[in-house]
Structures are given as structure tokens and as C-alpha cells.
Symmetry: C2
Subunit: 345 residues, 2 copies
């Protein structure tokens, strides 16, 4: 065949998103912000409605051999709520499309919805609709979350200014290391099914992978302290990738300090056990679902005593210089491996 | 294993939706209407925002051997817009989640988005966000559509009163017959790849299957004539199934007349060619994406001259008597086969 064929892997996920974004323009005045942030922004009187969507596919985003269905249901909601949190908004509704094969029983679907319900309770969101159909292969969960925020409190990716302080919440890299643990135990089990996995030692790491929480608590804390970040994004693809999103959207450079980046003790030790540099897990891992945001220097006082917010660096004028100062005081460029889903293995 | 296993096919799609609906209650006051209509309804000041979601799976909802990707993109948007139309609302935004395998090239994805863009232009909706990831098997398209309507103009499934007139738009059964034609041509092609399909004769039917249109024109016409239906639903699963939804939600019976049901000449002739009763294609086929609605008898004058609205029967007090009067003046009960996606073949 002489038809031209370009592999998707040549563009990667972000290249494809850019391409789609260029092909579509906005025509309704209620469409305040389209493709290119954690969520779309739609005008609703004095408020903005933010909308985000995420699809989880069996065999790509989760492996049911170690992911219990309750946890999967919870996680599917949490990752969407995390996108709403990243807009500084409060999630209120979700709709769920589900593709399920005959392999799944009613009991399995009940378990999935049990997790979804637990997340709805925890984040105070309502399941208001959906679509259910059979799938010829695995399980597919597509969720759209809808949130709300006062018009002047929406935080996008592009508002950072030079000298703004870069903040992250919680600790990073744990979910990635947890995934390595689960994958190793799966291989052990496949080799010797009599062997019981000993996950107790890795409880925190495995929990971060299987049951991540969206940081709605941080959104509330920021509001309470009267602090509106200048830009924000949730950390789903690894810190490096998200920092570069802020850099690109704000047209500024980022500079962070390795010794300021929060890494849990278990994450650190287990990364070493796997012979991976812990900072690599943070930069290029993923699925932390923590928040990365920038604040004006004058807001530092409001947050400096918060036990779970860490100040890891600052924005600067040179958009082409995105760097980390290592513990050895060397300067390394920040590059995103991110996830290239389309990579031909 | 002694664990209990109940097959999903025992409940079917609607049984599963009922089950989920019972397990979830609404906690946010902005959630005006949850599961159980064409779209969810969310409060937004003087307006209501309606939200609907639909997932299309390769091998279940479409077959790429006869569905061109442009058409698929167009259809994926149209079926979602149709749900918004069924709420009497105007669609304004969509978000799209896409799962694509390495089998698809960039050119294929471009073709898909070309169709999506054509539909966005046609229905004046903005693509404002999405999620793209690789799939291990086929193509998956999940779309969520967001529409808007004045609070007092929202039309749900439950507002019909006894003696309200039952109306349908366009003609019915064509998409189902079109699918039979395409399936037959596919089999012919598989047997003898040299054989060129002759689809010209079936152009209308095949077009109804491959390129359905949402009836936004009817929503506009109703508004222009100052007519707000008392209940409305779009016809995606066959007329019988949708009539029973109106009956159940309005707690009334439906009575329709076979000779009033609009069937196109090509649909009729080709159904006979396939040895299927044309009215069966209408009642139990699907994918018409026409509107089924009820109006108060006093509104009949406003619509009686509309060339594309047909009056097929009326609502009555006995919720357990859902019937069709055949051309032979016999009375047959309306039962829904609908689609049981979970049926074990």
C-alpha cells in the first residue's frame, strides 16, 4: 500500500494533544478554557464549572491480578477528583462509562461500585449518570468529573510569574516504587503460586499505588489561608513532566533543589533495593496525585507552617532553562520521559 | 470455588442501571437529577446544565470494516448530542476520551478527528478536553456532552400526563435495516473479496446507520413554536424500549397505532427483502436517534403542520397496559427486547 502511515509513537501523547488542540477552536462564549489544562472551564454565572475526563484501561492502566476491584473503583474516581483539585475547584458530580466483558460477574461489578461509592462519599461527589456496555476484551472505566469554583479563584497552568515559589504536597515517587513491588510479587507468584507475597513491609508504597487520594484537603487549606496559587497541576505523570507543563504554559523556567523534594523513607530505601535512584522515581515515575503549584513570594508566610506543603524551588525568566540543583550542587536539566503510551515495545 | 457468581446477563443493562441507581443517593444540592434520564441535570443559576456520556467500543458498537473513521467520529458526537437534545437543551461542550492501539496510524486518528470536527461544526459544540491513551485491543471512544437550557424548559422522561399525545420525529427502523445490509455485504466480501459491494440502492439505509444526525433542528422548532414537551427521550434502543421508559417514568400506559408509525419506503421494502417484519425493525431495532416525546393535547395545534413530526398514539392511565393497535386492528403488547449487551451468545 502506498498510503502514508505515521506511527502515533512519533508524536507521543502530548504531541497528539497539541495536534488536536490546533485543529479545534472554541465557538461558544461559555467555553472559557478548552484543551490543555487539567480540566476545561465553562462559564456558569458568577461561578466557573470545570470538567475533566480520564479513561482507565485494563492491561494499560491497571492489572487486576493485584488491583482489587474496590480499590480500582476508588482510584478511578480519585484520579478525576485530583484534576478538579488542580483547578482549585470543588468536585460535585461524576458520570461513569463502563465497558465490561462477560468474564465479570455481578459480584465483581458490585465490588467496583463499592469502591466508587466510597470515593463519592469521601470526596462528596454525586454519581449522576453513565453508560454501561459489554466489552469484547477487558474492563474499561471512563469517568468525567464536574467541579465548581468562584470565577476569580480558578487556577490554571499558565499563571506563574518569575520568582514565584514552587510548592508540592505530600511526598513523591511512592506510587511508582509501589508498582515495582507489586510487579515483582506478581512474577514471584507466577513462578511459584505456593509462595505467599509478603507485602507488609511495603504497605505504604503499595497503598500509594492501589489507593491514591486526591488532595482536596489541600484545596480547602489553601482557601482557609486565603491563598490562591498562581498556577497548579496535579502530579500524575511524574514531577519532571508536570514542571515542564508549568514552564511551557507560563513561559518561564523552573529551578528546583533535589534536597527540598519530599521523598518518604520507605520510598527511598525501596528504590535503592530496586537499584533505582530515588529522585528518578520522583521525576519520571507517576501516579502520585499530589499537587504541584506556584505561589507569589508574599504568600509564603501563609503556608510556611503547613506540615504537608514543601517549597522546592522557584520560577525564573529563562523559559529554556528548566533545571534541578542536585545534592552535590550540580545542575541537571529537567527532561520529561513522561509516559509515551504509544511507544512500540 | 465456592464464591457466588451471578452472570450480568441475568440483570441486563437496564437491570444493572437500576441496581446502581439504588445504591447511590445525591448529596450536592446542585445535583438536580441523577441516573435514569438521557442526561443528568445540574443547577447553574437560572439555567440547568445537562450532562450525558456514551462509550463506543470497537467490535461492540461499530465495525471498522464498513465504518469509515470520519463517520465514526461524527456519529460518536451525534449520539451524545442526541441525548442533550432529548433534554430539550442546547449542546455546548464535549470532552473525549480515546483509547487507541498501535494498529492505528496518525492518519487514522486524523480521520477520526476530522469527523469529530465536522460534527462539532454542525452542532456548534466545542471540544474542550479529553484523555488519550493506548489500548491493548481495539478503538474506544468515550464522549461526555454538556448542554444548557433554561431551568423551566428542561424536559425529562417523567412528565407525561394521561391523554398526552405521543410524537416521533423522522422515520424509524432505517438504521437497523442499514446495519443488516452492511453485515450482508461484509459476508459477501469475506467470501469473495473480488466482489464490489453495490450499496447505491441502499444509500439511505446505510447512511442512517453510518451517519446519524441528532435532531437539534426539532429542539429549535419546538422552541420556535413555543411548545415544551411533557416528556422526551431519544430513540437509541428501538421504539418499544423507549416507549416503556416513558411509561415507567411517567407511571402511565402507552397506546400507539401501527399505521401512524413513520417507516420510510426503502426501510419497508428492504426489511421485507430480509424477511423481517418492518414494524419489528422499528420496535426492536435501534440507533434511529430520532426524538420520542409527549405533548399536551392543547399543543397539538402548534405542531400539526410540522412536516417531520408524527403523532402515533397517546398516554393513558393504566401503567401496565402498553400496547400497539396493529393495522389489522388487533392489540399487541409492547415489550422491549432492547439490547442485552451482556447476553452470553
Amino acid at each position: 500500500m502506498s498510503e502514508k502511515r505515521t506511527e502515533l509513537s512519533r508524536l507521543g501523547e502530548f504531541g497528539l494533544i497539541d495536534r488536536i488542540q490546533q485543529q479545534f477552536s472554541l465557538q461558544n462564549e461559555t467555553s472559557l478554557k478548552g484543551i490543555g489544562d487539567d480540566a476545561a472551564v465553562i462559564s456558569s454565572g458568577e461561578e466557573s464549572i470545570v470538567v475533566s475526563t480520564d479513561m482507565l484501561l485494563e492491561g494499560v492502566h491497571f492489572d487486576l491480578s493485584y488491583m482489587p476491584l474496590q480499590h480500582l473503583g476508588y482510584k478511578a474516581v480519585a484520579v478525576n477528583v485530583s484534576d478538579i483539585a488542580a483547578m482549585n475547584a470543588k468536585p460535585e458530580q461524576i458520570v461513569i462509562s463502563l465497558g465490561i466483558s462477560n468474564r465479570f460477574s455481578l459480584e465483581a461489578v458490585d465490588a467496583l461500585y463499592e469502591g466508587i461509592r466510597a470515593a463519592c462519599d469521601s470526596y462528596k461527589v454525586d454519581l449522576v449518570g453513565g453508560d454501561t456496555s459489554s466489552s469484547v476484551s477487558g474492563l474499561i472505566i471512563s469517568i468525567t468529573a464536574i467541579g465548581r469554583v468562584a470565577k476569580d479563584k480558578v487556577v490554571e497552568r499558565n499563571g506563574a510569574k518569575a520568582n514565584d515559589i514552587i510548592c508540592v504536597t505530600g511526598d513523591l515517587g511512592a506510587a511508582y516504587v509501589g508498582l515495582q513491588v507489586l510487579e515483582r510479587e506478581k512474577q514471584v507468584f507466577l513462578t511459584n503460586p505456593e509462595m505467599q507475597p509478603d507485602l507488609e513491609k511495603y504497605e505504604y508504597l503499595v497503598g500509594r499505588q492501589l489507593k491514591p487520594e486526591a488532595r482536596m484537603d489541600i484545596v480547602h487549606d489553601l482557601a482557609e489561608r486565603n491563598c490562591v496559587p498562581t498556577s497548579m497541576i496535579d502530579i500524575s505523570d511524574g514531577l519532571a513532566s508536570e514542571l515542564l507543563h508549568l514552564s511551557k504554559n507560563s513561559k518561564l523556567g523552573v529551578k528546583i533543589f533535589e534536597d527540598k523534594v519530599p521523598i518518604d523513607h520507605d520510598t527511598f530505601e525501596t528504590a535503592i533495593e530496586f537499584k533505582i535512584d530515588p529522585i528518578t522515581c520522583v521525576l519520571n515515575g507517576g501516579e502520585d496525585y499530589e499537587l504541584l503549584f506556584t505561589i507569589t513570594p508574599t504568600d509564603y508566610e501563609k503556608l510556611k507552617n503547613h506540615p504537608d506543603i514543601h517549597f522546592i524551588g522557584h520560577m525564573h525568566e529563562n523559559a529554556n532553562q528548566n533545571v534541578m540543583i542536585t545534592k552535590q550542587q550540580t545542575l541537571v536539566p529537567i527532561t520529561a520521559q513522561g509516559w509515551n503510551h504509544f511507544k512500540v515495545e
